[in-house]
Symmetry: C2
């Protein structure tokens, strides 16, 4: 991607923003907190996002305009790509003061993204994977020295590599005699480290010759919905490829509870186990394929570059050699992280007691095992390592996130949230941690919402509203006509409807506002986001009071979960110094909006970290450094689990959280200030509630 | 068996012997060193063993006699059972002096038999099997205490039983949730101890309820020829049953070398692995069945005995309960000992390098593994423990013998021998051990001998010779007409032929002796042991010079092996303080005869111990006490292996040993004294050789 930045000045607000070359103008406006009426999601059909280009140039934006409009200098913001510094004027249809706009649409806040920093791991000398390869040149046996093959191997691993406490299982012993001789007694041993320092180092593979430069691992997140894998080069630390796919179990239930119910049916567990393994195997196949293709391309570049020095060529070749033509048999380990249900289903362990009070998982720690044992299509020697969990609803994915985010080493009081149907919350720092899970319901994933949908193409994800006309500005995933509303879109919509007084703190519409977008149908009040003709569907897309209520319950469950945990440990929500948002959904949440609805406590957005797929990150970190595996045992001991249903204060907190943003507006000082600056009427409403 | 003893006085020798009630009279004579002509092996058809019963009574012995003989007081010794103190007169056909007879047939020496002393193990507090069962009453999980099932289990194993360092594998974890609830949280955990004290204790099974009184083990000797198993009750230490069967691999070769050759053929290894597993499974089935039958019989006795006290009844029932209806799933461990080839074939490890210089085994130590992994028909949880070996030809069977015999704890310089086609020798004490194996050839098992056969019914096993007439006294296994000569019979025959000057120290017949039993056929000199009409076959049974030569080579290989080992450690054969004879064959060897031919060094027979099946004994001891498993690692480190072919002095020792008893008669002082007391001619012969 180009690094050229362009400055956009939006008039009459006089708001500036720097954007990448080629940025979509309507997205830039959204980013800048500038409202432009738009309801087709960015496809350019509604024609409402006409703006006047006063200076500079854009690409596109004029195709669907009349000659008259073109002559007046109009462009369609949603179809315009910014190619220079520009000045754009929004045709304000009513006499709106720019300061009102300023309040109305707060700029979008994106949090810091926690990135995996390989160099920092390397610099700290922590690129010490749980699995190492050791090359050995053994003296061939003679009449005077005819030790058993295994004894010879172990002796020289000790002498040449200072390897101790080694064990070898039968499978490997069976291969050793022939492989030693095939390799003329020059062989490579793959050794997997124990979790505990006083454990055994297990030899999992013996290969003829020197294969130490080919030591690969897979990190994988086993999500209820999606499975993501990464292929790692343990010598360089490089991520060679990654791939994600839907969990093949999805057709047997969308959430963990329905999976458990299916698993309890006759043969159900076997089916679910097989399905997730199929998906994992598919992901494995794809990441291996992708890594090979990537490296072939490098190969081409290498060949075409005649000026490259011999030395560099050699270096490149060695790097290519590492990545290209990776065989499944060269994968030394696969580290998997998933929630407790996914973990048990993967291992074929009946999850029925996870679903029933008192919610007991089979185990929180699992021993390393052979990946092939559960049907994973990897070498017979490939060892699978599973992230331990804490409880039935705080599983290995969360622990991986806690590890991967560094929370377990942080001095700051941190709120870690993984938002989804089952939302997990961890609060603590390097000295202590409390965790819990709350059933938020499917609202964040579009479930239980009239026009709810997953965050796929056509889902409304960005929204703003004109404070005077109450006309919306709508962006969809993929800039196509809207089909529905995804979770992050829902948060954005409700936040702005609330902040603009379209709904009150109970989520009820202000029926006195003069706009045909607010209406009652079959006794239910709703706001029309998109009129039918601008949608992909056969109806108007709306958001209704029951939809908003569902969202309020979902966010209320999460916020009150965090409140409860804090209270249990004698702290308060205002003590939180840092928020870490994990999970795919977390990455899409607009922080300011999430704080407006009271999903997240109000905190400086600079102190929020988007972790992304914390489960995958943790799995990757564990693949790179065994210290992680060693630490994780201590970490899960530190993580005190609370069952909210068994914590008496939870219900009180929950009821208090069933407001926008909360009964106690003082917890949200910035929002309170903005609301106090708004027209008295709305503030009065809030005061009454 | 009755404990009544009877005294027999043999006249004219005036030799006394105490025998059990019902002892066969001709066996008693053999034992006492009294010669009675007899050639039908004890079947009573040759009628040559007529003796005069001067006092007392016998049972039988007169059926096949003429009325005349009966009136004279004759009985057939071979058909007479001693029922009181008796005086018997041998009708000496020639004018033989009793003192000559005394020299001629030395009394039979039976060595001490090493018995398994459970009480001593118990008394020393060593009945600490490698596998224990722990009964637990766990609190059921509640909302306030919803630890993972595995965590709960481990915590309470620690609290209630002080069990630490526990690990559980996936197989067991899968079962835990349902079993905990099936048993209403009252369960029994089976735990296998590590070899090293700092290792992990592995939970192999969880059962509902209290099953601690049902903890069984199998000890098994995997011999090249036979497989013996014993079923053990680990609570009482009792051996519940035992059974032996021929190794199913036998049809693919009689000795380890031919098995290895077969294993190298395409699919050969798989066939041999399958065959030995089939035999083991058959033995397992039989010992379990036998144990159940035994206990049912006790059950009957219990029921029929109305006078038994309630208390005793209960005790008996609990004992019956232990043994009866044992299921394969109740076998916690199986401990196996076999030579290195048998071990590798059992595990499916290519044994080709065992057969080829420099004779390298795959491994000497094998990790515990699931018995089902190699096809053993036991519970999925049953752990197989394999005895480690030392080298390609000093295997786990020998190490088990060294352990079982207590050699590794002995102060005495001990010669341990396991005599067979491959004879293994260990010399040492608790501080050091040297070991080797020599290829003795099949002579000890009847191979390479014209009329050689295995030690089965009809095999000549006992022999004496009339020093004047050179008529033989022959006893067969099962007291039936002779079919051939087994290994121990061969030793006895050659020893007495030599001591009576029928053959010289080179094993050549004295052609001048006046007896038609010594003859030349097809240029080969031989001695007729049994004329055709007294045999089961269609020919005279003879022993020829080539037969004797084969035996001399076999015994020479063993003796010189021991000499070589001793020389390598700077000691001499006369330093030996104790001999332990292991193996089925060892138990049948007549010590004095073995010393006459120079198979064993001459030593006080009191200092010889018959170990019997040392491999099985070692396996059993390991099953009962884990200290054995812990010690064995140190023991094999102590055992220095010598390859005779690579030890230059071996050939010299071997050549010197190709005489009866040896070039150096001074190593055999008792024999030398007896020979010097004999007629000058024979002594001269020896002096010349």
């Amino acid at each position: 991607m180009s690094n050229i930045k362009h400055k956009i000045i939006f008039q009459p607000h006089n708001r500036e923003i720097l954007v990448e070359d080629g940025e979509n103008l309507i997205r830039a406006a959204m980013e800048a907190g500038v409202h432009i009426n738009a309801s087709c999601g960015g496809e350019g059909v509604c024609g409402k996002c006409r703006v006047i280009l006063e200076q500079g140039q854009v690409e596109g934006g004029t195709e669907k305009l009349s000659t008259e409009d073109k002559e007046k200098g109009y462009i369609l913001a949603c179809k315009s790509k910014v190619k220079s510094n520009i000045v754009v004027r929004i045709p304000v249809e009513s006499n709106v003061d720019a300061s009102v706009l300023n309040i109305a649409t707060s700029p979008r806040h994106t949090a810091k993204i926690k990135e995996f920093k390989l160099e920092s791991i390397k610099d700290q000398g922590l690129l010490i994977p749980p699995v190492v390869k050791r090359y050995l040149e053994l003296p061939a046996p003679t009449a005077q020295d005819n030790l058993a093959d295994v004894t010879r191997l172990l002796n020289f691993l000790k002498i040449q590599h200072d390897e101790h406490r080694l064990v070898v299982d039968l499978d490997v012993i069976r291969q050793i005699p022939d492989i030693l001789r095939e390799g003329d007694f020059k062989v490579t041993a793959t050794i997997i480290r124990p979790v505990r320092e006083d454990g055994k180092n297990q030899i999992t593979l013996i290969e003829p010759g020197n294969t130490t430069n080919r030591n690969f691992a897979i990190a994988m997140d086993i999500g209820t919905t999606t499975i993501y894998g990464e292929l790692l080069d343990l010598n360089t630390g490089e991520v060679l490829s990654s791939y994600g796919d839907f969990n093949g179990q999805i057709s047997y239930g969308e959430d963990v509870i329905s999976r458990i119910i299916f698993a309890e049916k006759n043969g159900g567990l076997e089916i679910l186990q097989k399905k997730v393994v199929e998906t994992i195997n598919h992901v494995i196949e794809r990441i291996i394929k992708k890594a090979t293709i990537n490296k072939s391309e490098i190969d081409k570049i290498d060949k075409s570059d005649a000026s490259i020095s011999e030395n560099n060529k050699a270096n490149n070749r060695s790097s290519i050699n590492n990545g290209s033509g990776i065989k499944k048999g060269e994968i030394s380990t696969i580290t998997l992280a998933g929630n407790s249900t996914m973990t048990q289903l993967l291992l074929g362990i009946n999850p029925r007691y996870i679903r029933r009070a008192p919610y007991v998982p089979a185990s929180i720690l699992y021993p390393p095992f052979k990946a092939s044992e559960i049907g994973l299509d990897l070498g017979r020697h490939t060892i699978a390592l599973l992230y331990p969990g804490v409880s039935s609803y705080v599983g290995g994915d969360i622990v991986a996130g806690v590890m991967g985010s560094g929370l377990y080493q942080s001095d700051k009081l941190t709120l870690f949230m993984d938002i989804g149907t089952n939302a997990e919350i961890v609060i603590g720092n390097k000295d202590w941690m409390a965790c819990t899970a709350c059933s938020a319901g499917p609202a964040f994933e579009g479930g239980g919402i009239t026009f709810g949908m997953r965050a796929s193409k056509g889902a409304i994800e960005d929204f703003s509203i004109d404070p005077i006309t109450f006309e919306p500005m709508i962006m969809t995933k993929g800039n196509v006509r809207p089909k529905g509303i995804c979770g992050s879109g829902l948060i954005n919509i409700v936040a702005l409807l609330f902040e603009h007084g379209v709904i009150n703190s109970r989520g009820k519409f202000n029926q006195e506002l003069k706009t045909d977008r607010i209406r009652q149908r079959d006794g239910i009040w709703e706001y029309v986001l998109v009129w039918q003709n601008a949608t992909q569907i056969d109806r108007d897309i709306t958001i209704s009071e029951p939809d908003i209520d569902n969202l309020i319950r979902a966010k209320g469950a999460m916020y009150s979960g965090a409140m409860t945990l804090l209270e249990e440990v004698g702290m308060h929500i205002n003590d939180i110094e840092q928020i870490i948002l994990a999970g795919g959904f977390g990455s899409y949440v607009d922080l300011e909006k999430a704080m407006i609805i009271g999903l997240l406590p109000e905190i400086d957005p600079e102190k929020v970290i988007y972790l992304g797929n914390g489960s995958l990150l943790g799995a990757k970190m564990s693949s790179y450094t065994n210290l992680f595996r060693r630490n994780v045992g201590e970490v899960i001991k530190m993580m005190t689990n609370f069952e909210l249903a068994e914590t008496p204060s939870y219900m009180d907190h929950y009821v208090s959280a069933l407001f926008l943003p909360h009964t106690e507006l003082n917890y949200f000082p910035r929002l309170k200030a903005r609301m106090e600056a708004r027209k008295p009427k709305t503030i009065q409403e809030i005061a009454v509630d």
